[in-house]
Each structure stands twice: as C-alpha cells, then as structure tokens.
Symmetry: C2
Subunit: 360 residues, 2 copies
Amino acid sequence: MKTFKVAVIPGDGIGPEVIEEGVKVMKKIAQLDGRMQFEFTYFPWGCEYYVEHGKMMADDGIEQLKSFDAIYLGAVGYPGVPDHISLWGLLLRIRKEFDQYVNIRPITLLNGAPCPIIGGSKETIDMLFIRENSEGEYAGAGDWLFKGKPEEVVLQTGVFSRKGTERIIRYAYEIAAESGKTLTSISKANALNYSMVFWDEVFEEVGNEYPNVSTYSYLVDAAAMYMIKDPARFEVVVTSNLFGDILTDIGAALAGGMGLAAGANINPERVYPSMFEPIHGSAPDIAGKGIANPLAALWSASQMFDFFGYEDIGEQLLVAIEKVLEEKTVLTPDLGGNSSTTEIGDRVVELVSALIESAR
Amino acid sequence: MKTFKVAVIPGDGIGPEVIEEGVKVMKKIAQLDGRMQFEFTYFPWGCEYYVEHGKMMADDGIEQLKSFDAIYLGAVGYPGVPDHISLWGLLLRIRKEFDQYVNIRPITLLNGAPCPIIGGSKETIDMLFIRENSEGEYAGAGDWLFKGKPEEVVLQTGVFSRKGTERIIRYAYEIAAESGKTLTSISKANALNYSMVFWDEVFEEVGNEYPNVSTYSYLVDAAAMYMIKDPARFEVVVTSNLFGDILTDIGAALAGGMGLAAGANINPERVYPSMFEPIHGSAPDIAGKGIANPLAALWSASQMFDFFGYEDIGEQLLVAIEKVLEEKTVLTPDLGGNSSTTEIGDRVVELVSALIESAR
Ligand SMILES: CC(C)[C@H](C(=O)O)[C@@H](O)C(=O)O
Ligand SMILES: CC(C)[C@H](C(=O)O)[C@@H](O)C(=O)O
C-alpha cells in the first residue's frame, strides 16, 4: 500500500466547499481501491490569513510544502485584497517556486454538459491544453518609471528562456507522440517580434525530433476565433503562459463552464510537489451558500490520480463526473439544477464506488 | 463640395479584390450624394513589392502618405515573407508612425449574419471595442540574449506610457458618455503586475472625470469566457493592444465571421491620416478566385464616412450591408452562398443607392 501526502490549501470563497468534496471522494476511493492511502494536511492560507498576518502564507510556507507529494488547492482571492497581492503571494508563488512549469488543462465537453456553441459535442470539443506555467508573460518582470509624472511609463517584460521554452514544447510533443494526436502551437510572432519569433523557432526545432507528430501553428487571435468556430481542429495544444490563460477560459466556456474546468500544475521531474486546482476563482458572491459546483475540483482530483500512476482510477472518476452530468438529477445551480455542493459530491462517491467495484 | 484624398493600399492576397469593391461603392455614393468627392491614389506596397524591392513600402512611403485624409488598406501578408517583417514594415508601421492610437472595432451581429453561439442576436451581440493601437504589448521592444547558447533568453517588453494609456481610456469614456452606454475595461492585473496594475489605476482615475458612466472591469480571461457565454454584458469596451487583438477576433467569430469584421485606426487629432481596413488577413488560399467576402471592407468604408463627418451615409451603407445578409440571395461562400466578390459589391451599390435616393 502506497501512502501519498497531500497538502490541502482550501483557500478563499468557495475553495473550502469544493475541496472538501474532493477530499471526501479521494478518501472513499482509496478505501475501496486498497492500493493507496492519502494523508491530508490542511493549511489555512489565503486572503483571510493575509488580513490577519499581512502575508498570504507562512514565512516558511514553501519549506513546509516541499515534502508533500501533491498540493490540492481550492481558490485564491477575496474582495479587499488586491488580486496581484493574493495571487503572487500564493498561487503564482507556488507554481514558480516548485517549478510547476507544465499546466495541463483538459478541455473536453463531457456528455450532458452544457455548451454555448451550436453543434458542440464531445467529438468536436476535445482538446488538451499544455500551458507554459513558470515564466513568459508571467515572469513578474517590469518597471514603473516616473510615477505620477507626465512622462510616467510602465514596463512589463515577458521572459522566454531557451530552457523554459524548450521543455514545455518538448513536453507537449511527447504527449502528442504518445497519444497519436496532432499538436498545435499558438503564438503571435507577427506582433510580438522577439518572444514569439523565438517560440516559433523552438517549436520547429524541437519538432525535428518528432517527425511523426503532425503540427499546426496558429496566431493567438486566429486560435481564439477558431476555438469557437471550429474547435475540432485542436487536439493537443501548446502555448505560452498568458495565451494559455486566455484560451483555456475560452475552452472552459465551450466545455460546460467554469464549474467543470480543471487544471494540474506539474513539476514533471517530481523534484517538487505538483499542484491540482479547479481553475475557477473564489466566487465570493456564492461563497458559504453550499451551492458551488465541485465537479472541477473533482476533475482535478482525477488528474491527481493520473499523476500518482492510477490512471484507471482517474478515468473512473471522470466517468462518474460525466454520469452526474448525464443523469441531470443532482446538479448545482450553475448547471441549471438546485442541488448542493455536498449532494454532488455524494452522488460522485456513489457512482465511482460502483464503477470501482464492478471493475474488480 | 468637399474633396477627400484617400490613399489606397490594396496589399496582398484578397486585399485588392475586396478593396476594389469598397472603392466602387464609395465612388457611387459620392456621385449620388453630391456633398463630397474622393480622389483615390493607389500604392502598390505589400509583399510582392517586398520580394522585388526588399522593403514593404517605398523609403519615403510615410512621407508620401502624410498628406492624405485617409488610408484604405486591404490586407498584408503572403506565404514566404515572414509575418513580423511584412507587418512591421507596413500595417504596424503606419499605425505607429501616424499615431493611430485608437483602433475602433464594431462587434455587432447584423440581422441575417450567421452566429456560432446559441441565442446570439443583434440585441445580445452589440459591442464597440476601443483598442489601444500604438504601444503596449506591440511596442516592439525587447532583446534576444545569448543566441544559440543554453542560457539563451528572449525578452519582450510591453510599454505602457501615462500619455498612451490615459488617452485611449479617455477616448473610450467619451464614447461611452456620448452614447449613454456602459464602459468595460479589460486588463489582467493579477498576473501582469506592472502594466495592468497601472492600466487599472488609470481607468479609475480617468473615470473620476465621468461620474455618469457606469463602468465594469474584467480580467482578460474572464472577458473571453463571458463574450461567449453572455455577450450582452459588453457595450463599449476598452483594452490594450494585444488583448484587443485577441478579443476582437472572438468578437468577429460571434458576429458573422472574419468576412464581416471591420476596423478603423484613428488618429483623433487628425494630424496624420487615419486608416480603415477589414481586419481579416490576405487569405492566400482563396486569393485571385474572386470569392472573397468584401463586406468587411465595405463596413470599414462605412467607418470612413463616419470619420469624414457623414454619419448618415455611414449608417446607410451599414444598412445596405445588413440587407444583403438578410436577403441571402447574393452571398460569398464563407457565408454559405456562391456569389462573387463583385456581385456582392454590385448589390450593395444598388441597395445603398436606393437608400440614399429615398432619404432625399
Ligand atoms: C488567478 C490567475 C492568476 C490565474 C492565471 O492567470 O494563471 C488563473 O486565471 C488561471 O488561469 O489559473
Ligand atoms: C496582422 C496583425 C499584426 C494585426 C494585429 O495583431 O494587430 C491583426 O491581427 C489585427 O488585429 O489587426
């Protein structure tokens, strides 16, 4: 029996509500499956912590997290704490300090999930986004000159290193090669005349190592348009930090909404813990009401099972999520139902338990 | 009778085909209306010119264009000439040298135009994008260090000046105030910790001068999602150069496709000529076949009439475009028809002529 140590950071707003369902489901699965067990350790970090302590996490927070196998994060952000403080102090800090340079976001329209575009289906909307997650536009580099003067000028510098660009692109080629899917790179060399020219060069260079992978290259604006008009073009997609941020939210819109959008922040070398999070925010407007949709958090948990090497379980959990959507008997308000967060979690527990038992 | 000098740069691919229809329509309108006349001067610049002369326009090209009242541009780009060369040598160069710092892109789903989202209508999809067009992410600033070495690193710097940021935001507030619409600012301060924090500050500051304008502020990722899920939220929108690029392509997808997407690059002080262009590319795959959709080019011509002070004509031309879409008898293949570029132009001429005559 393997033991996995999971650091849980429920965070702000609806974070604790959805993460609780994830923990519940994971515990139940471990108990039924018998191959693994989880040790969950909770960290009370986030905006409330900030208001009390003037910082988003403990001073030695990164040190404390280091020995865990994974981090399970709810959501960060709260009215009153500026976003750039809360996020650089927690979410973005963890992504960077633990060199979680791969952000994996599945964009699949599960059966039963709502889709705002005409003709959307699981066949046409089924992509895997590989987003650079450690540098690029999110390097945090810049300067603010002549503050308050008429000549004031603010600089924001994207930093694209050879190492950082190559490794994310190679990671995406590996996934495309393994899965036999096409690989699409999304950039913007016609306007971003340094970074994206470099990106395109590296995409081509690394591609020479993968002669069997069919590739495409899109400008980010065209990609945004085609994701809506013809999403079937995209299978595995690799892109920069900022473009990945924007395009995966388009993806979330297409694939059932934010309540179904999951993400994994991976350190592939496993030197540091990887982090799993629903990509929705803290949604302060519905926090505390018990109506937040936990399915994104559960999908992230499914990604965690994949990461730990239990891809069969990851798959079963995803099938259970899809069943909930197909049944339509328990759904949260964002999906047109009137069930509670807990009821969704309970139903997933039932469904995944049945799947695991019948697979024995 | 007023005379307007218009520099015509048909450019590459389908550019010449669609621009020709625009010139035809403008001439006919001038002749019927009687208040204005146009002097069109053609410039053969673009990628073919580049292949011959090693540059995208004449050395004194900017000087040559300076005395015109407006520039009417088709499209730039051609296989074989790298995009960052063709665009920085022509389109982006003109935007910058002529301080066309406002890019106005109407995103309205005209009646009869196709829409990929469920429930899309002219009521729900009706926005006006005001995109910063002179600096920001498109400043062209950056560096490429240690080329070819393992420590290679490429920097791309967005430059947001007080002047540049204030003037575009103020322009948008003016439009919102005049039209009684809401104003939405789109930024990303949670990740872009210098430029977008500054942007948000300026948006708030300038807002103090417009207490009657209702404002909203969205993160770019959330905006991309909501444009698809709930486009009715957006009326007048102001955003940075790159975000405007991406979001207006989402807008184009929603509002009938690239064949209907128009843009105006405005120098509001009228010190330099403004430029009007369909925002689609050169579409080399269909160039020369006479099937390109000229409606975006015609919509840009309508923006030109507005700019010259003939808003009645601008409106009539837009009504004629909408009639073509409603009639569905002549449409290009991108809109499901099988008519030619010229046939669309001819039908618009007929329709707008009838409108002008009946308005007498
Ligand atoms: C919260 C924010 C900093 C974050 C990002 O921009 O990466 C989020 O939008 C995401 O996509 O994970
Ligand atoms: C061609 C390209 C440089 C341009 C841009 O990115 O501004 C285009 O996409 C646009 O939106 O006008």
